[in-house]
């Protein structure tokens, strides 16, 4: 699930000019007489990743250039190469653009909400005593640990028009959250926020704890407000962590699948709540248009790759040694 929390480790040996310098080689140390040993250690990882990650990516690209439907899968018809035909179909379909827009807007809202709530609660954690802190931490870990599928079913039940407590409390009668497009997205957003803010909170809190106390004390003695301390002291010092949690959130929220699938019953009424991931799945496994599904997958890969490259640039600019 999460990734690269270690990515922003401060450089241990950074040469001048930000270029990572290698530690001096010590002759005679068995460490340095490497030969084939590192490759031997890497072998199991590389074989697994090559076979189950790299090869499928190649296959995904390949299928997206073929005519590949149920007829080809069962061997009834030969597979034919159609070049960019699938992509032309896809880009010519107004539903694709609608889904892409919905995905981007939905992911962006999720990311902003998650970051805001996560950071605000991390700051809150620093201002309370141990007991309330432990209680909030435990509640957050509970939400974090909840599997996406059970989280989804519980939230749907909480907002159920007939038996859910939320409509009762808010006096909404039998208002169906999953019927309207925006209310359905809002419901999924709440669930995603619920299960993804803890990661941001815990990570940012750990980061704040690492800031020397004197710095924060000095700021508050100078009469800085909490917002001012966050804006001018914490946020700049936490920049590396904030980059990591932001990128991580973008990546997770861009590929939300289970929540949409379970809560809106496979993409909502007439596909109104589809996001790219679910759209690809429905195209491939519900209507057997494997090549169109693959083309959507490639579009997702390209978008996420672009995000990754931006991330790498940001990290390297900080002079991190890989």
């Amino acid at each position: 699930m999460t990734a690269n929390t270690t990515a922003y480790k401060a450089p241990e040996t950074t040469g001048a000019g930000g270029t990572p310098a290698r530690p001096p080689r010590r002759r005679g140390s068995p460490l340095r007489r490497t030969g084939w040993t590192p490759w031997l250690y890497l072998l199991p990882a590389l074989v697994t990743l090559g076979g189950l990650l790299v090869y499928p990516i190649y296959q995904l690209g390949l299928i997206s250039f073929l005519e590949y439907t149920q007829a080809q899968v069962s061997g009834g018809e030969p597979t034919t190469f159609v070049g960019f035909g699938n992509y032309a179909d896809l880009f010519g379909d107004s539903q694709f653009w609608q889904v892409l827009l919905a995905t981007v807007v939905f992911a962006a809202t999720c990311v902003l909400a998650t970051l805001f709530v996560g950071c605000a609660l991390a700051v809150l954690l620093t201002r309370v005593r141990a007991l309330p802190r432990l209680v909030l931490m435990m509640a957050a870990l509970g939400a974090w640990a909840t599997p996406a599928i059970t989280g989804s079913t519980v939230w749907v039940f909480l907002f159920d028009p007939d038996f859910g407590p939320v409509n009762k409390v808010l006096g909404l009668g039998d208002f169906s959250w999953t019927y309207g497009r925006y209310s359905a997205f809002a419901l999924v957003l709440l669930e995603v926020l619920w299960c993804s803010f803890p990661f941001v909170m815990v990570t940012v809190y750990a980061g704040i704890r690492a800031i020397p106390t004197e710095v924060l004390e000095a700021a508050s003695l100078d009469g800085a407000s909490q917002w001012r301390i966050w804006r001018s002291v914490m946020a700049p010092m936490l920049r590396p962590i904030l980059i990591v949690v932001t990128i991580q959130s973008i990546i997770w929220d861009f590929k939300v699948f289970t929540q949409i699938y379970v809560m809106t019953n496979g993409g909502g009424i007439a596909g109104q709540n589809l996001v790219l991931n679910v759209y690809a799945y429905q195209k491939a496994f519900a209507s057997s248009q494997y090549s169109l599904g693959s083309a959507i997958g490639v579009v997702m890969l390209v978008i996420l790759l672009a995000v990754t490259l931006v991330y790498l640039r940001l990290v390297r600019r900080q002079g991190e040694e890989l």
Binding site: N4, T5, L31, I63, L136, G142, T146, L158, G297
Partner: protein, 282 residues
């Protein structure tokens, strides 16, 4: 905020902050509370339009429906097998790989590291289609292998990244001392480095356990006809019915599915937070 004066000045603010923290904690925990509560409610109360936040007559009927469901124990065992295998295998493989990229200098090392980073970004779901055909070609459809192998591959890059920091933290002097004392490389690896890195392995395994245990997409796509190989999410979906959902059953099954993860989280909670913190600090 260690000085007394500071504390006194901030006290009213702190009480408000603590009240807010407790209210938020209650709100965050509420869905889980509601899940467990609904699982224990008798059928009449669940299907009542007067949703009450307590029950006076807890019953195990819903759990009974879940456990008496055909093959439920088997689903549970399948989920456990898949998650357990992935956790152990990915910890061992990632440990070796992390050692290679942190304790050795070799050509393409940086390239490899960047590849591991990029690999984390690959949307797993997009690869369902080619993986489906791959599993079909290798006759792995409808077997637990079709769930174990992809999850292993998807949890490795992150595990390697996370472990890197832990392996790096073991001083090189220790390694040299071990060699001087006549230890072989293998002996150093398994008898010295491995125990030292073990806390890191635990933190890493939380993530691989959760992502595997929570899997829904692969279970739905690769286990298509042989239900004896299904995992827990499928046991849950049984209770969604076109006419009327059996909410009691859904909540009881959700509870059963959530508890192992919660237990796992509580067990490693300290290590997890300090693992993340450690990664952040230095």
């Amino acid at each position: 905020m260690s000085t007394r004066t500071l504390l006194r000045v901030r006290r009213p603010g702190r009480l408000a902050a603590e009240a807010a923290a407790l209210v938020i904690a209650a709100a965050v925990a509420f869905p889980l509370y509601w899940m467990v509560l609904s699982a224990f409610k008798p059928a009449g109360e669940i299907q009542s339009t007067e949703a009450r936040p307590w029950t006076l007559a807890p019953s195990l009927d819903s759990f009974r429906r879940v456990f008496e469901q055909q093959d439920f124990g088997r689903y549970f065992l399948n989920s456990l097998t898949v998650a357990g295998t992935v956790v152990i295998a990915s910890a061992l493989i990632a440990f070796l790989a992390a050692t290679a990229v942190t304790r050795f200098r070799f050509r393409f090392r940086t390239t490899l590291l960047i590849m591991f980073l990029v690999a984390q970004m690959v949307p797993v779901e997009a690869l369902t289609i080619p993986l489906f055909f791959l599993m079909r070609d290798f006759g792995q459809l409808n077997t637990l292998g079709s769930l174990i192998l992809p999850h292993l591959a998807f949890s490795l890059p992150f595990a390697i990244w996370m472990l890197r920091g832990f392996v790096k933290a073991v001083p090189e002097a220790l390694e040299e001392a071990a060699y001087i004392d006549g230890a072989s490389r293998t002996r150093f690896l398994w008898q010295i480095l491995f125990p030292l890195v073990f806390p890191g392995l635990v933190a890493t395994s939380v993530f691989s356990f959760i992502s595997t245990w929570n899997d829904f997409l692969f279970a739905k796509s690769f286990i298509i006809s042989d239900t004896s190989q299904s995992t827990l999410p499928m046991a849950l979906l049984v209770f969604f019915k076109p006419d009327e959902n059996d909410w009691g059953g859904i909540m009881a099954a959700s509870t059963v599915m959530t508890i192992p993860v919660l237990v796992f989280f509580v067990l490693v909670q300290r290590r997890l937070v300090s693992g993340l913190g450690g990664a952040v600090k230095d």
